[in-house]
Subunit: 430 residues, 2 copies
Amino acid sequence: MNKTYQQYAKKELKTELESLRKKYKSYQNRALQLNMSRGKPCPEQLNLSMDMMSVLSRGDDLHCEDGTDCRNYGVLGGIEEAKELLGAMIEVPADNILIFGNSSLNIMYDSISRSMTHGVMGNIPWSKLDCVKFLCPVPGYDRHFAITEYFGIQMVNVPLNEDGPDMDMVEHLVSTDPDVKGIWCVPKYSNPTGITYSEETVQRFARLKPAARDFRIYWDNAYSVQHLYEDKQDYLIEILGECKRAGNPDLVYKFTSTSKISFPGSGIAAIAASLNNLQDIRKQMAVQTIGHDKVNQLRHVRFFKDLDGITQHMKKHMEILRPKFELVESIFEEDLAGLGAGTWTKPRGGYFISFDAVPGCARNIVSRCKKAGVDLTPAGATYPYGNDPNDSNIRIAPSYPSMHDLETAARILTLSVRIETIKSILQPMI
Amino acid sequence: MNKTYQQYAKKELKTELESLRKKYKSYQNRALQLNMSRGKPCPEQLNLSMDMMSVLSRGDDLHCEDGTDCRNYGVLGGIEEAKELLGAMIEVPADNILIFGNSSLNIMYDSISRSMTHGVMGNIPWSKLDCVKFLCPVPGYDRHFAITEYFGIQMVNVPLNEDGPDMDMVEHLVSTDPDVKGIWCVPKYSNPTGITYSEETVQRFARLKPAARDFRIYWDNAYSVQHLYEDKQDYLIEILGECKRAGNPDLVYKFTSTSKISFPGSGIAAIAASLNNLQDIRKQMAVQTIGHDKVNQLRHVRFFKDLDGITQHMKKHMEILRPKFELVESIFEEDLAGLGAGTWTKPRGGYFISFDAVPGCARNIVSRCKKAGVDLTPAGATYPYGNDPNDSNIRIAPSYPSMHDLETAARILTLSVRIETIKSILQPMI
């Protein structure tokens, strides 16, 4: 076992720093441009869906089974076949689904926006309230936090553990504070830590007794089928059914999309919820649009056919993604293990590796990477208001770069981690 | 020249009514199901764009000219090529355009919703104001009115004349009442009357001096290329440039889409506005979505290629639509001319014929048509709150039915018009 940097003598640290800086300099001289900042599929993954471009062609009949002409106006909540396909994927009946456009983020935005201007199922619009709060398990997804921040909703950090958010804290806040109107959740292969909520966590969610009648769980099922290992898959129990059984049928909005399955910008997205909630949402939808893109819904249905089609397709994604995750993990292991320079997750799915640096180092590491041509998600981004109180968490997205670029980027990252860790230890010594 | 019904003796009217009722009964016995309610393209029109289904195929390169992979995340405001195509169509520079999803109605909804929650270019959010008003030229588009009603915005009727809204009234209200934050306009081949705003009207719009700094003209250019006659096309001057020249660059939001060009539910939609406005809108967009469907944008660009491609395509729509409009107009002429039973428009473009019945008859006519199996837009729909003060206007959409069905539907309509007109004359006599 190595000594950790914390156990090094000052002189040893300085020698080590000198040597690391030389290596860093040589990378810097290469004027690289590498990007591990966003959970973006790589071109090889996009190629997996190229047959979708030919699944509808000029001679085809674009009618649904029920006779709907997908090319024309109409069908507010999406075609039946698409509801069934996504329903099967997220384990809810087709009747509990509304299909939207290409972006589940947009559905989440619309849900919050509607709650602000019109309230939730007859409750007072949030814009009329002095204070609205959302619980934010941290680290979490920056785009969730951006929506609540945009609407002036006060965000309250809740620690995210290995089995989900700290449920004692969630239960306490939700049941005692009527200002708490929602909680952001990425329950499976969470962004960025990769954890999946345990059965007990989901059951405690379903049994929440909110002080606010218009409290909703924002359950973002973005990575429900995004596994990295055939034989080591996480299992998440289905929240909608669990809420119903717990006598809380209206408690949850569940979001999904095919962004990580077909094409990120050209997939289909959906919300699943109780019939009461869907009726409430439909009132807005009916004013907002005549209907979303049914041709693209049909294209997805004819390409994937059924859940098995999706499952088979996701294995191909898995084969492309897994080596990238394993490469980064092995470089971390090789360059950082035992040094006391940080810890990292080894997810079984999703799009991210979450790295926790020595407190106070994350911003410097990200900035040092950038100076050597490696873009990472900004430090702090995984916390509300971009404020990581420990300045420790860094989200790493290994999906997009090629294996070759990824190796270089990961090496620059570990180098930057080691340099900044040593500097942080030396700092108080000076 | 016939006598008008108003000039008939009571006995003559009763005989006429008797005979019309017999004809009506015979239609009723046929248990028809015909629909002239919505501006919906017919299957033959949709077939015109079927090649679009094959314009992208599995072997194609889906990159833009600037190297963007259209299949992946990114490019918030739309691909450059799509901005140029729609820009050419609505006569604004590509830089003044943002491309959204499939629905311009959705962009309008989002614009109002954003103004409610965040205000317009730094002004106070409308949700914080006691009163917000929109001017509504009438008759107008029911879905516009539905948006403003949904947000509790007070709608003020303004008469729509042959050359556009009553501009004396518009100028007076906009310049004196700071609660007036917007006006709904369909400036070309207006829905439902088919009129196009005159050069003077547009210039007066561009020269408005609003009492409210956050007043915007909502310029819905839905039918800009929807002409019915090659040799009789309306000409609308371009409002964005006109506003700029008038020193009011931020005064207008201009909306367009390809809903009536390619596929109604699967087209692309856009907003055009000043750079200041677009910057304001982008702030919302950046929170709302990672980007809209770029593959569909590329599909449209590769299919239409350029403005000339759109122009050629619209001639094919014209050839399908014109006979339908002419059929309805000829039946109106044949069955109603000289009877004093109503007046109707003979539009040169757009999707509607606007029929003005004898005051007090519209609801009864629509309901009588329905009982004989002909669905029309509900009477009143062309007015805010569904309230036509004269109960006179009926919007007729001839695009969807086949020529055969259209003839039957139009005959049932004229029959219903004549019956209800006679009844309304007989009523006070009893």
